[in-house]
Amino acid sequence: MSTKSSTKPSTEPDVSGATPDARSGARTAARTIQGQKNLQDIRQASKDGIGGSPLRPDGTLKVRGEFAYSSDLWHEDMLWGMALRSPHPRANILSVDVSEALAVPGVYAVLTHEDIPGAKYYGLEIADQPALAIDRIRYHGEAIALVAADHPETARRAVKKIRVEYEVLTPIVTEEQCLDPATHGYVHEPHEYKSHAHGNICHEQRLVSGLGVTDEVRALADVVVSGTYEVGMQDQAFLGPESGLAVPAEDGGIDLYIATQWLHVDRQQIAPVLGLPEEKVRLTLAGVGGAFGGREDLSMQIHACLLAQRTDKPVKIVYARDESFFGHVHRHPARMFYEHGATRDGRLVYADARIVLDGGAYASASPAVVGNAASLGHGPYVIPNVRMHAIALYSNNPSCGAMRGFGAVQAAFGYETQMDRLAAELGMDPVELRQLNAVKQGDLMPTGQEIDAPAPVADLLQRVKDMPLPPPLDLDDLDVRQLPGALSNTSHGEGIVRGVGYSVGIKNVGFSEGFDDYSTARVRLEVIGGEPVALVHTAMAEVGQGGVTVHAQIARTELGVEQVTIHPADTGIGSAGSTSASRQTYMTGGAVKLAAEAVRHALIEKGRRRYGWTWNDITLTGGKVVSAAAGPLVSMVDLLGDDAIDLTREHHHRPTVPFDKETGQGFGHVQYTFCANRAVVDVDVELGLVKVVELTAVQDVGKALNPLSVVGQIQGGCTQALGLAVMEEIIVRDGKVRNASFTDYLIPTILDTPPIPVEILELPDPNAPYGLRGVGEAPTVSATPSIVAAIRNATGLALRRIPVRPEHLTTERPGAL
């Protein structure tokens, strides 16, 4: 059996037009890797600068099938890596015998934790996760051993021949079990490598503002509503499986071509495990098929590198879909208790909440998720007295970490449900109640932080309410494919009830709580082929969000050039931070702006020295150096000559501080973003089937650098919210994942997804580059509650758990919300 392809074309090396970096000898070895090609045709991109909607520079390659995703990478002589994963959520490992697996022809290496040359643990915030299980299993699917073989099937068969003896233990999976370690034990023993935790609590954050919530405060309210809410475990379910290629380099280091969200933090975690200094671990971004937070943690990175190190051959790992469900962190499932008090005329008096997030076996980003839940958990409302308590638990459930909306999603389901119940209790219109209490610029958050940028929450709600409604269901002129149940022809209109619901949400942009969040960009301007050409080099992970398009737009705007080349993202430049927290356009876009401005100043300075210009109104436009008063001065080509101007800048956002542990006070967030939604649903109340008829979104984006992408982000975010509302959940029973496939974990199809009309507002944030506001997450926070509200409106059911399932609709009794 051979895996070598005789007809596979080898591809050219870097054809992006980039200046080669000083790299190791691995450059030659990596020449067949296609990833370098992914941005080649950016020079044909449209001329548009910011505010326009030029097409994606990688779009042409993507529709041709030529864009090299990480699972497409290929190297002559490469091996396939695969992991053995635990079938138990909690167990002691008594022995591991790899001898039979090693004997399989075509197998080059089988590794366990004993073969790790360096540090054995890693983690985003707490280094609590073993690269390969050591003595204990903490979740279903934990990796125990690795195989490298000449064909994926060989690897699969070898994995099956690894013999592991387990002592199976009862998993710690419920909140009650987690909080009672004396009876049920610890997921991590108290002495193990933890910084923030005690017992099975991974992290907690309290917040008290005003008078907090006391009997006196409660007495101020005329109406009180309270309830317990649950959110299931959602998965990012990006389509491109976790994958990458590790290539051993001549200098003893490793070159890793990888789909990730954050190259530098991957490297920080990988290098110590390999026992290598960071500079010997070089990462280049390969094509990424979606991320949504699921690639913020490591998955196969260390495994591929370990196998490459051991075999001295390139090793590729591509997860199958079930392995992808086991191999990345999910959205924290939550149990929340909320109590709100309001006056008779609808003013909120207090909010009290306890939010319990199941963080699973390892910490991942749980501490930051907890911080978000506590500091945003009261919603975009002015509430004089607030008490919040958010915790993340360690359990033997799958690990949870970053996913679009990051701690704000769960809370939004809680507080928005409460708003609807309060409105019902007060006999008020739910939108009016929200508007009455909406935050606006100048208000204080319960953290004490002033909202110092536009916060048009009431206006967003008004606009979404004013959008035209879809026409009512017309039973005489019906395409049954539009009904709940759609193609299954389950109804011809009988039993169908329509409902409408509203919601609004708040999300922070960028990394909070004192994290020094920054990004780095290098911009180079030179004459190529008789034209001024800008090169933009950052380590930003393009995961589909369109950052590469926006970077070119910024460079064109700042430098007055048409031609922009985007250098492949790699660790040859400083960190760009993560492609998450709606931060990349703000942070890396900001860095590109700073670097481009510096290049512009340097070029103008050169002109001043050469020509003695004294005007202060000089800009670059249309390839020329132009004075507003005196007109065109010289072409950039002439002024640049053979010189290149090549400058690197970092963009830091304004500093934030950690929240006080007990009171939650502090200037913790960089920027807030808001989205309002209206959902219209048809429910087949007999069968419990839901069809979302329309999902409308209105969002303030500060400044739309690329309106086409902005709208695309909002629609995509709404669709993931729809998934959480009515179908998406990883089912975990006794710590075991029951639906690790696209057959059983359902994400919305085009039939499940309605038209999503979007209106964007552009109220500039004075603190952000171009006044922009992070976009990607706000709709995912806000849209879910609107859909559930619409289903409640149609059915009269309380629906305190998401996703709403058919059995909830057919077995719950209508009653008070």
């Binding site: 041709r64 491109g240 995509g716």
Partner: protein, 162 residues
Amino acid sequence: MRVTFTANGKPVEADDVWEGESLLYVLRERVGLPGSKNACEQGECGSCTVYLDGVPVCSCLVAAGQVQDREVRTVEGLGGEDGGLGLVQQAFVDAGAVQCGFCTPGLLVQTDALLEQESQPSDSDIREALSGNLCRCTGYEKIMDAVRLASARKCAGKAVAE
């Protein structure tokens, strides 16, 4: 075993194929056509959709041996005759229907097949035809736009030709 078939009009041949291999694996790993994507390998996502003898199929569900002497057309074969983009490909780029793009190759083949059958599909027709192709990024709105755009261009093209 050895498998021979035509891929995008060219004869190809793959040696040492293990009998459990899928057409998707053979295309991606053996004959240098990685355009069809591997997102579930279970027939659920449509990312691997190719034409087999003119009919769109999930190539992950087709055993390699089944394609002996048959005709396969992949996303790589959807281009225009001049080497430029095909009509459906161009529409997806223009409508902003490509974000991460992992779903795109499968959607392009399925859309091409839809428009071959019905050049002016209704929105319900489009949704029905594409319901086997998952996209996690776009929310499908721009995909709808792309199919409508391709349909309009195709009809306009026909009108001009007639």
